[in-house]
Symmetry: C2
Subunit: 240 residues, 2 copies
């Protein structure tokens, strides 16, 4: 009986990590949603709330790290369980970083006054929706460990990158049209970049889940879709 009791307490410890990560994931999603809403509606109060909410994720990551170390030390887990635990450490770091990115969007709300063209805000919302869908579905895959469903991740990551590139060009165009757009559009450029990075973290999480379940690394070197480093917009470059 003793060993059953111990095994079940151990299972509970592993489940605790998964549950805590699910809660952190939900929290990060809400932060990003609210950060984008604060930006679109020029709502500094909501932005402030998002900034404060980030503490919860810092704490969550720390708790998972501490707990994971204790479980490893106490249970001396073998292969699969060890991957679960190390995977939890990695995933919570990615989620914490998603929260940072949401916070960074929120911190820019005060520097963007909401008077920029509506299409920019619609574009940012669309980008955020896509990135959040990616994050949600990856966290669903984590909850169910249904790694065979993971194929959607790369296709959607490509969509996110394409949408980001188009937004990047649009922002440069507005900056060119009127120098008074330069400050707000620069901040929107960084907001767009932050949101695009959320997609990258979702991809990281997918790779970690793959590793947890299979013990293998997903093949590396997926071609990075963000091509904005090569965007050169006519009229916004020196004459030859």
């Amino acid at each position: 009986m003793q060993s059953v009791h111990i095994a079940s307490a151990y299972d509970e410890e592993l489940k605790f990590l998964s549950k805590r990560i699910a809660a952190m994931g939900g929290h990060a999603e809400r932060m990003v949603e609210q950060a984008v809403a604060a930006l679109v509606n020029a709502d500094p109060g909501l932005a402030q709330k998002v900034i404060q909410d980030d503490l919860v994720l810092d704490e969550g990551q720390r708790e998972i790290d501490d707990k994971a170390i204790i479980i490893i030390a106490r249970r001396q887990p073998m292969a699969t369980d060890l991957r679960e635990i190390v995977g939890a450490i990695r995933i919570s770091a990615d989620i914490e970083r998603v929260g940072d990115l949401g916070k960074n969007v929120a911190k820019r709300v005060a520097s963007v006054d909401g008077r920029q063209p509506n299409s920019l805000f619609r574009g940012l919302e669309a980008l955020a929706n896509l990135a959040l869908t990616q994050l949600k579905e990856v966290l669903d895959v984590y909850a169910s460990r249904s790694v065979e469903r993971i194929g959607f991740v790369r296709d959607r990551d490509d969509q996110i990158d394409a949408m980001y590139t188009s937004l990047f060009r649009e922002l440069l165009t507005y900056m060119m049209e009127d120098p008074r757009n330069i400050t707000p559009c620069t901040h929107l450029l960084f907001c767009a970049k932050n949101i695009e990075r959320i997609g990258d973290h979702a991809t990281n999480i997918a790779e970690t889940i793959y590793y947890i379940v299979t013990g293998d690394q997903m093949p590396a070197d997926r071609p990075k879709g963000d091509k904005t480093d090569q965007v050169v917009l006519p009229g916004t470059v020196p004459a030859k």
Copy 2:
């Protein structure tokens, strides 16, 4: 004798992780140095080299992760050693990310033609030197585990942030003066942000070293110095 033999093999395994991290760190430093040199000298060949060099760090991180898991599973290490191993996983992730940031700078070389004002490139070089000094010294602290020397990290991080903020303002000013500066200066803005982030990763590594040596987390919530999210430059914002 057998146990001495085993212990010494175990020590070798732990030393392997430290050595591999030192090598990864040196590689990341060189990548960043060369990326900035490629940018300043408009040298696309050197930029291409940096982009290819990033593979080495991806591989290094993967190797450390695999090795760490094997050591934990085989040796079932206790507290201090476990922190060493988990710390190695974290630090190699930070170094790999520094490499990504260097690569991102290199990828922008083709979109910046080197005809921007000299002061901008001097500013970027100075920022990179500061961030690289921070990274080097933090890696020295890791090599010697001399955690009592870690106090320099926050002061220098503040300097990095101040320098980044001033560069950010300067870049916006150039964009305002002439729309043909907008594309290159936007890319330089992202380069500056990437370099500033290297400082943040150095700080993360410092925090991990503190944790390895003491078993405690460094106090959280260090005030984030990057204040560019609040930069609003007159003439580059809509009239009230």
